[in-house]
């Protein structure tokens, strides 16, 4: 049994070797096919890498600004953000959640609608009350805060400081150090206003976020709204965004209050998942283009090669090569063509992605569109092992598929007919 397997392996090795040598009989023709496969693979992998970068940045930016990985809030708060949907963040509950294995950081927030105004203009916004220090572990607001012309991130949760986006500052015609008035409804539905100083300006990669959200200290906002120590939500960051579905049930166990709900970023932002699904579908189109390129070039090359070797294949059959063995010789020849093109394509793609990832690809020309998607204007391409595996499967599968017909034709060559063919 083992001896038979060894012999089969040796035969396969010889057939691969035959296929390899046959490949280089027409060097130029084989190189053209290999080049076309290489170009197809490089274009496919670069496209995938850019899309990966875009998706990753889009998710990370949305998570790092508004979503977090998991949010705990009063039932219905996510759909209808009312101030009265608040709760007291029980210390024991928070401690249990913090100690959960895959939880990295948690922080409470107060979140409500407000009006920000100056003597020049006013604007409806969502005001976010945060613990500035704890927020650093949750969101990237500290990083997104511009650190020039006196602009600084918040530091005191009880201060009269406010952090607004650069775009809101332009619309309100204010800058760092200027005063703005924030009008909010308190827990008794009474309008109340407070004068705040612009401590800093921020710019996130998510345009809508910049246009609609401002930050201030949570203690100050709790005082204005009369919430005392109550909060609107508790943000939870897990070890990575992909494990939220497994972490959520563990958090649910730790929360006794039935009025609270736990939502993952996937539940809060289904549009992101739809966008990813759409991009994945676009990828299928790219795979298909590569598929078509390969299938025709390989099939064409092999048919030409078989016609040229018609006599030789007849000789091989005459001296005892079985039809199935001829079939495999041609299949291995195709496999070699695909493998060389693929190997060169993958190496070139990995090198290109690594070089491009140093500084990122500047999509500033499409700045607004990119910010609208929340991806940022500089995309850092990313290539995962999964993508390389898929490209290997697509290229080799396509190559072998393209070779089936020529290989079948070769296997069916009648030796006598072929011997007379010069």
């Amino acid at each position: 049994m083992i001896a038979n397997m060894m012999e089969t392996a040796i035969k396969i090795k010889t057939f691969i070797m035959l296929g390899w040598r046959n490949l280089w009989r027409q060097k130029r023709r084989s190189l053209v096919v290999i080049l076309s496969i290489t170009i197809g693979v490089v274009l496919m992998l670069l496209q995938i890498a850019v899309m990966n970068g875009m998706i990753t940045q889009m998710l990370d930016n949305n998570i790092s600004t508004k979503l977090g990985h998991i949010t705990i809030s009063k039932k219905g708060f996510f759909d209808d953000m009312k101030l009265e949907s608040n709760f007291f963040p029980d210390a024991r509950m928070l401690e249990k959640i913090s100690k959960e294995k895959n939880v990295v950081a948690i922080t409470p927030r107060v979140k409500t609608f407000a009006m920000i105004r100056t003597s020049e203009a006013s604007r409806g916004v969502i005001v976010m009350g945060i613990y500035p220090d704890r927020e650093k572990n949750i969101s990237k607001m500290n990083e997104y805060t511009l650190k020039d012309e006196g602009s600084r991130y918040l530091d005191d949760p009880a201060s009269n400081d406010i952090l607004i986006s650069k775009s809101i500052a332009e619309k309100l015609d204010v800058t760092v150090g200027d005063k703005v008035v924030l009008l909010v409804q308190d827990k008794d539905n009474e309008m109340t206003g407070v004068g705040l100083t612009v401590k800093g300006l921020f710019q996130t990669p998510v345009r809508d976020y910049d246009n609609g959200v401002v930050y201030m200290g949570i203690k100050r906002l709790q005082k204005i709204t009369g919430l005392k120590d109550n909060v609107s939500e508790v943000m939870v960051i897990t070890k990575n965004k992909n494990i939220v579905d497994s972490v959520k049930p563990k958090l649910v166990k730790n929360i006794a209050d039935n009025n609270l709900e736990i939502l993952t970023w996937k539940e809060m932002a289904p549009f992101l998942l739809s966008a990813i699904a759409m991009i994945d579908k676009q990828m299928v189109i790219f795979y298909f283009i590569v598929f078509i390129t390969i299938i025709f070039s390989i099939a064409n090359t092999l048919i030409m090669s078989i016609m040229e070797r018609f006599h030789e294949l007849g000789v091989m059959k005459s001296i005892g090569t079985r039809p199935s063995q001829i079939f495999f010789i041609i299949m291995f020849e195709a496999m070699n063509l695909g493998a060389v093109g693929l190997a060169v394509g993958v190496v070139v793609s990995i090198a290109a992605v690594n070089i491009l990832a140093i500084k990122g690809i500047d999509f500033s020309l499409f700045m607004e569109a990119m910010r609208q998607w929340g991806a940022g204007s500089i995309i850092y391409p990313l290539l995962f092992v999964r993508d390389i595996v898929i490209s290997v499967v697509v290229v080799e599968f396509t190559t072998l598929l393209a070779a089936i017909y020529p290989a079948f034709k070769a296997a069916r060559i009648k030796p006598l007919e072929a011997l007379h063919y010069i």
């Binding site: 030789e312 000789v315 005459s318 001296i319 005892g320 090569t321 079985r322 039809p323 199935s324 063995q325």
Partner: protein, 242 residues
Amino acid sequence: MSIITISSLTKIYDGGGIEVKALRGIDLAIGRGEFTAIAGPSGSGKTTLLNLIGGLDHPTSGALTVAGSELNHMKPRELSDIRLNKIGFIFQAYNLIPVLSALENVEYILLLQGVARSERRDRSRRILEEVGLGREINRLPKELSGGQQQRVAVARAIVSEPELVLADEPTANLDQTTGSGLLDLMHDLNHQKNITFLFSTHDQMVMDNAERLIRLSDGMIISDEKKKSKKESSVKKTKKKK
């Protein structure tokens, strides 16, 4: 005992609506170890007969047994196995695999037969040395002369020690000296290994060297002449010396 038994063998080709009778009821038996030539003018049917014996073509009617196997109704795969294991082929145009070296060309047959690598290498080297190509084993066919290529083809045909070697005009592309050398080589192999050789030929030198000469004309055997065997001659010469 016969290695080839043929009775009432016919082969009719369809030449664009016109029937071409290539063989018309051949009856023939070739014994093991014979060194036989089939001669005849072009179109006499000698190559057709050789192709049928080699399982490269199917007869229209009649019975054909080669090395104990009836070839008439065999499937392509079964015929491949017969050609691989029982018959060696030598073609007029050498027909070596151009991407394989002389050694690999010879080894290829043993590989298909599933012979272990070391044994394969040893046997192929030995047989190439026997045919006088011990120094050319790593050369590709294009790097060898016509005579050398035909010697590789002979080595390939006999390396697996088949029961029968079919040679279709093996000397046709060779000069007189090379052809004569090749014929001597095949004669020696016939004597030493008792391999049956069956040639189709136009070449008078091959006919003179054959121990049995079958003449075909118009698809029929017109003469079947057994000559004095070189084996017998050499035995008698040895006795006289004693």
